[in-house]
Subunit: 124 residues, 2 copies
DNA sequence: CTTGAATCTTCCATCAATGTCAGGTTCTAG
DNA sequence: CTAGAACCTGACATTGATGGAAGATTCAAG
């Protein structure tokens, strides 16, 4: 399929798809005239890329993972790279949970104005 | 305390602390000569700011939350703002979990090369 | 063929947090 | 008082994903 259709089907802008190619995340075959053509599985691949992007991975990191994935992830090095990245994501989740808890503290205190503490300068 | 000490105690760069002030996240009182001075609770406040930053909140958003927090978060609007932000964080956590699961799929497949599928072009 | 839609490439712009450098001022220990 | 450390402001650079415009070319449908 062509880039416009892929964009429509994935919800990713044409601009971004070209960027993904530039970053070696998403190869495309070219027509004689130079237009990009994608195989059906590209839809799935873009979805994966998007997931990794929204998990905060950089295009560089995603590119490295993709190399491993495309190669079949057979080597122990590749596997440990993937595992490392997964662990990084889990650490990030912990971080988020922390932030959420902090916000919850603030929210709960807001129901009980007498409970002081906190970071605010305050008159005391 | 002065900015250098606050930086040392929080692990945040002096540059960033100045930026936080500029963004109205972290007020400072000024000495007659113009040097910033921070009260003890600033340490805690910086920690909170850092948590929110690493949760992906923008300085703009953090600033808005801080206003509510400093005001005592009494109004329903303030509370719903905080709750909305907490929910956004939880959605982000879901996103991360999704990405982690995707990676885990890839990792598991890597132990069992015959299990095909996936996004890679492949000779088939 | 012709024509209009889709694509191509190449730039330049943006946003946000932070780094860094320069040149000047303040603070503090001796 | 004085030297040197710490601080001040202001400016510019950076990184990364994306947006957007311009001008040329290709594709597909009639």
């Amino acid at each position: 399929m062509r880039i416009g259709e892929l964009a429509a089907r994935t919800g990713v802008s044409v601009r971004s798809l070209r960027y993904y190619e530039e970053q070696h995340l998403l190869p495309a075959v070219r027509s004689s005239g130079g237009h990009r053509h994608y195989p059906e599985p590209a839809v799935h691949r873009v979805a994966l890329i998007q997931h990794l992007f929204s998990a905060g991975l950089s295009s560089r990191t995603i590119g490295e993972l993709m190399v491993h994935i495309d190669a079949g992830v057979s080597t122990p090095e590749a596997r440990s790279r993937l595992i490392a990245e997964r662990d990084r994501i889990e650490r990030q989740m912990t971080e988020l949970a922390e932030a959420r808890d902090r916000l919850n503290e603030v929210i709960e205190v807001s129901y009980d104005p007498d409970a002081g503490c906190s970071f605010r300068p305050g008159p005391a």
